[in-house]
Symmetry: D2
Subunit: 343 residues, 4 copies
C-alpha cells in the first residue's frame, strides 16, 4: 500500500482520480489539495463521492505536502505545474503530471505555443506517459508527463500506420470532437448548458495547443518531421473524444486488421473494432479503453481511422493511474478494469 | 464460484447485469439468452462490453437452459416472466425476476392493473426484493421479485417516516421523474432522441402500473391501506430517477436526521444528504446508491422528501445483484461498490 | 411605428426580446444597453442575431436613454430594476419590467423574500402583467410587472379551478420543472453543461422566491389566503417549464373540459389539451403558448393539472411583448404568432 | 394565394413544411397525406401544431390529390418519390421533391448508389434546387430536386473557392456532423434517446449516398471530375449540420473575405462570419440561414472551411419553401425570415 496525493483535486480530472483510486487496492489517497474547497470534504465538491472519498481538501504549501505521500498527481493548469513539480521531485517524490508542462521535449516549441518555461532542465527527465509506446521508460522515471486527451486519441490511432510506413504523413487531416468536460469545471459562459446543448461547433481552428504534442509523437513514429491539420470540436456531451483521421495510402491497400492486431496484441486498453464497425464514445464511457476502427476507401486512396476514448479516463485520470501502476510496479490494469457504462 | 444466467440479455437491464457481473468475483456468467441476437456475441448488441462479455447469445428452451446455471435473472417483460419462472423453480433453480409478475401479493390487484395471472400459486413464495426491508426473507427464498424502479425510489424515501408514524398517509403525493432507459431498448417513436431531447412531460397520469406496488409496500409500512397520487415524468437523460414526495406531518416537526440515520444506520447503499442538501440523479449515476434528502416546511406543515437512484442499477440490475448476493450468502455489496460516475 | 429599448440586452431574455421584436411590424428597436458588450453589436453577444439585430450595445445613463424610445423593457436583475424604473416613469416612458421588483403588491412580503424595497410608492401603480387575467388594467398602466416564469405556468393552470371554487386551496401541491435558461447567462458552476446534463435535481426546496408571487395571485383568484407547497427542479434542457399541480376536489368530479374552455374561450395563447392528452415543453418551444391538460383521479379525489410554457417566451420575453402590444394598442398577438419549434 | 399540398406529412420534414407554411402569407396548405395518421389531424402527430395546422391527414390516391392543390411537396422516401412525381407532373402540377430521386443527373450514378430508377426521362427536366447556384433555372421548371442536407452545407461552403480555382479539388476532405432528426421519425433502435445521448460516432464511413450528389455539384463548380472523402457523424442534438472541410490551396493565401463576400453579396440566406469567428449550429437553429466561416493555415497550406445549417430548414423544408417561392414568383424570402432560435 503506497500513499498518494492529488494536487488540484476539485477539477474534473481530480475528482476522476479520486473515483478511480477509491477502488484501487494498492494505494491510499492521503491528501487532496484545493484552494477553493479547503477545509471541506471532497465529497462536498463532488457529492457523487459521498461515503467513498470523504477526505478533507487542504490548501497546503508543498513543504507540508511532501510528507503525506510518496507519489503525487498534479492536476493543475499548465504554468502552475512547472512551479510545483520541481519541488516535489526535489523532495524525492514521484509525479504524474496531468498538465501540458512536461509533454513537449523541445522547450522552444513549448514557448511558441504556451509561454515561457521555468523548468526546462526537467524536460529531458520527463517521460511522455503513453504506456502503449513508452512503457519501459515510464517504469524508470520519477516524472511522467501524462498525455493530452486529443493526442492520446490521435497517436494511438495512427501509431501502427506510421510505424509501418503505409501512409503519407503529409496528407494527415485530424478532425476531433470532444465532450464538454475537456473545458474543465471553470465557470465560463462558453461552457454553460444553454450555450452548448443542442449545438455543435469547432474551436481554436488551426491553433489548438495539442497540435505540437501530436506532431512531436507522430514525428517520432514516422521518423521525420510531421505537420498536421488538427481541428477540435465541441460536442454536447459530458465525456468522450472521437477523432476522425484521414491520410493517403502509400501504394496498395494495406492489411489493416493484421497491422493493428500485431501492434496492439498485448494491450489491455486498446480494443480493435471488427471490419465495418466503428468506435463510438458511448461505448468507452467511464472506462480506460481506446477503441479503434478503420477503413480504406479505394475511391480516394485514403484511409479513414477512427478512435474513441473517454477524455477524463484514458484521456486524463485513467491513463495517469495506468502510469502510476507502471511506476509503482503494480499490474498495469489494477483499478482500471471498469466496464464501459452504457447507456 | 456459482454459475448464473440471464434470460433476456439484450435489453438495457440485461446488459447492465452483464456489466456488473463482469466485475463480480464470486459468479460466472455462463448463459445469456436473446431471440434477436441468437448466435451473436452479447458485445455485438452492446459494443461497450467488447473484450469483457463476449459470451454468445442463445435462443434456448428452458429445458436446455436449466443445466447451465444455478441462478437465473429473468429480464423479460411481464407476462413472459410468469411463463418462464415456474419452470426454472421446478428445476430447482433460484430466480431473481426483474419483471412485475411476482411483486404484488394480491393476484386480484395484479389482474386489475396488468392482465390475468397464470402462476398465482407462486405469489406467496415470492419475496419482494428490497433488501433494506426484507433482507432476512430474501435470504431464505428461491424467488425474488425484484422491485420496480419507481417503487424502489419511493419506498426507501418514505419507509422511516411511515414506520415512525410521523406523516399522514392520506396526504402523500409522489411526483417522480425518470430517464429514458426506463422505457427499454424497444424501437418506438416515443423514445426517439428527437421526441425526448430538450423536452419534459408527464405520462400515464394517475394510471401507472407501479402505483399498486408502491401502495402495497407503503401500506405494510404504515399498517393501514394507503392510496397515493403518483405521476411519472420523462426526463431527457438516459439514467436516473428522482422522486419528490409530499406529505403532511402529524403533529410537530419530527427530527428528520435522527429518524433517517437510525433507520438506515447499517445500510451500505442508502446515503443520507446533510441538512439543506438534496439528492441529484447525476450523483448516483452508475452506482447502486439511493440518496435521500428531506425538508420540513413550516409554512405548509408538509415534509418534502427527495430520493435519487440510478434506475438501471438500484432500480433494476444492481438491486438484482444485491438480491443474488443475499440469496447466495455473499457479502451483500460484492461487485456493487461502483463509485458514481460524474460528470 | 414606436421606438422601444431594451435595458439589459445581453442576457437570455434580452436576446429573446430582440428575436421577437425583429419580426414585429409596429415597433423599432432603437437602443439596447449592456455594460459587458458596450460598443459591440448585440449580434456579437448572440451570433444567432447576425444580419437581423446588429444594433450596437451601449452603456448608458438613464438620462441619455430616455430620448431614444417611448417604451422600455427592463431586463435586469431584481434590485437593479427598482433603481431604474422610477426614472423611466418620471421621464414619461412606459415600462415593461421583467424583474421581480414590482410583482408583489405587499412591500412587506417583498422585503421578507427579497430585500429592502426602494420604490414602494410605485407598487400600487404597477399592474401584474398576466394578460389573461389583467388585460384591461394593463391597457391603462405605464408600468407592467411582467410575471415570473413559474408563476405564469401555475396561475394559468389553476385560475379556472380557483375561480369556480372546485378545489380545496389548502391541498395545492405544485411540482415544477424548468430548463436551464431560467438561470440566466451568468457564468456559474451550477449551470455548466457537465453539471446539468444527464441529471435531474430539485433546488431551493420550500424557499423559492416565486412562492409568494404564486400565492398572491392564487389568493386573489380564490378569494382567500392561499399557502402552497412549491418545488422547482432543474431539467437538462435549455427551455421550457412544466408544472404538475395536485389538489383535492371539493365535492364531485367537476366538468373540466367545460370549465377550462369557458375560461379560456377567447385566449389566443392558451391551448387546451384534449382529454387524456397532456402538455409537453417540446410542443410549445419558441412560442408564446401555454398548453394545459388535466385529469381527475377518482382513486384519490385529486385533480392533476399540467401546464407547459417556454420559460423564455410566455414565461418572460413573449409575455412582455404581449403586454407591450396591449399597452400600445396593437393587436395582442402581433409579432407573437411563432409556431412552436419541434423537434 | 395558391393552394399547396404535402405528400408525406407525418415525418419531420413534413411537419416542418407545415410549420413554415403556417406563417406564409401567399399560400394555403389544403392537403396533407399520411397513411399512418389518415383521418387524424396533423396536430395529433405533432402537438406543436395544435391550433395552427389542424388539417386532417388523408391517405389519398394521386388521382384524388391533384385537384386539391397547384403545387406539391413530396416528402417521401427515395424510390417512393419516383413513382409519385411523374403522375403529379402529368397532371400539370408543380413539384418540389425532397427525396434523392431527381438530384443526380446521371441515372447510372443514381443506380450505383441507390437502386434502379423508374423515371429516368424526368432527370433532365429536374433542376437541382440550390437557389444560390440555380435560381434562374428553378424559376422555369416544374420539378425541383430539393438538395440533400449534407450537400447543401458542403456545396455552399466550397462554391466560391472552386469557382475561383483557389483550391486543389483532389485534396478535399469533408467531415460532417448532423443532428438526429436527419434520421427521420422512423422507430429504430439506432435513433433512440439512450443510444445517441452523451455519445458521438461516425456512420456509413466512405459510403454515404450524399457523396455522389456532393461530387456532382463540386465537379460542375470546378469544371472537372471531383472525388472527395466524406464522413458523416451523428451528434447528440436534434437539429443542425456542421461541415468541416479541408483542402490544399493552389499557390498563395487567397483573400477569403473578398472571395466569399463577392460570391454571396446578394444572398439573403448566406451569412459570412467575421475573420476568426466560426459558425455553430445553435446560431442557425430553426432558420433558413447557412453560416460560413473559414481560415487559412499557413503551417499546412490548407484552408479549413466551416458551414452550419439547420438540416430540417435550409437542409430540407426551408429550402423547399425557398424553391416554391422562386417557382411561384413570390419574393424569395417570403415566410422564411424566422430569426434563429437561441438558446
Amino acid at each position: 500500500m503506497i500513499r498518494v496525493g492529488i494536487v488540484g483535486a476539485s477539477g474534473y480530472t481530480g475528482a476522476e482520480l479520486a473515483r478511480l483510486l477509491a477502488n484501487h487496492p494498492e494505494v491510499e489517497l492521503t491528501v487532496a489539495t484545493s484552494r477553493q474547497y479547503a477545509g471541506k470534504p471532497l465529497s462536498q465538491a463532488f457529492p457523487s463521492l459521498r461515503g467513498r472519498v470523504d477526505l478533507l481538501c487542504e490548501d497546503l504549501q508543498i513543504a507540508d505536502l511532501v510528507d503525506r505521500a510518496e507519489l503525487f498527481f498534479t492536476a493543475v493548469p499548465h504554468q502552475t505545474a512547472m512551479s510545483i513539480v520541481p519541488q516535489l521531485l526535489a523532495a524525492g517524490k514521484k509525479v504524474v503530471d496531468l498538465s501540458a508542462d512536461f509533454r513537449l521535449r523541445d522547450a522552444g516549441v513549448y514557448e511558441q505555443w504556451y509561454q515561457a518555461h521555468s523548468a526546462k532542465d526537467l524536460l529531458s527527465r520527463a517521460v511522455y506517459g503513453l504506456p502503449e509506446l513508452y512503457r519501459e521508460k515510464i517504469a524508470c522515471t520519477a516524472l511522467v508527463a501524462n498525455p493530452g486527451c486529443y493526442p492520446t486519441s490521435v497517436i494511438l490511432a495512427l501509431a501502427p500506420l506510421l510505424r509501418a510506413g503505409v501512409i503519407d504523413p503529409e496528407t494527415i487531416v485530424i478532425d476531433s470532437k470532444s465532450g464538454v468536460s475537456g473545458a474543465g469545471r471553470t465557470a465560463q459562459v462558453g461552457s454553460l448548458y444553454c450555450e452548448v446543448a443542442d449545438g455543435f461547433k469547432a474551436y481554436k481552428v488551426a491553433e489548438h495547443r495539442h497540435t505540437p504534442e501530436i506532431e512531436q509523437e507522430l514525428s517520432v513514429l514516422s521518423g521525420r518531421q510531421v505537420t498536421v491539420s488538427f481541428t477540435p470540436h465541441l460536442v454536447p456531451m459530458s465525456r468522450g473524444i472521437l477523432s476522425t483521421i484521414y491520410a493517403r495510402v502509400n501504394g496498395a491497400e494495406p492489411d489493416l486488421s493484421e497491422l493493428y492486431q500485431d501492434f496492439y496484441r498485448n494491450e489491455t486498453f486498446v480494443r480493435l473494432c471488427p471490419p465495418n464497425q466503428y468506435p463510438a464514445t458511448q461505448y468507452v464511457r467511464g472506462s480506460n479503453y481506446c477503441d479503434i476502427g478503420c477503413k480504406y476507401d479505394p475511391r480516394t486512396g485514403r484511409l479513414i481511422v477512427l478512435s474513441a476514448i473517454d477524455n477524463v479516463v484514458k484521456g486524463a485520470s485513467g491513463q495517469a493511474v495506468q502510469n502510476m501502476n507502471i511506476i509503482c510496479g503494480f499490474p498495469e490494469q489494477t483499478g482500471l478494469m471498469v466496464v464501459p457504462f452504457f447507456p
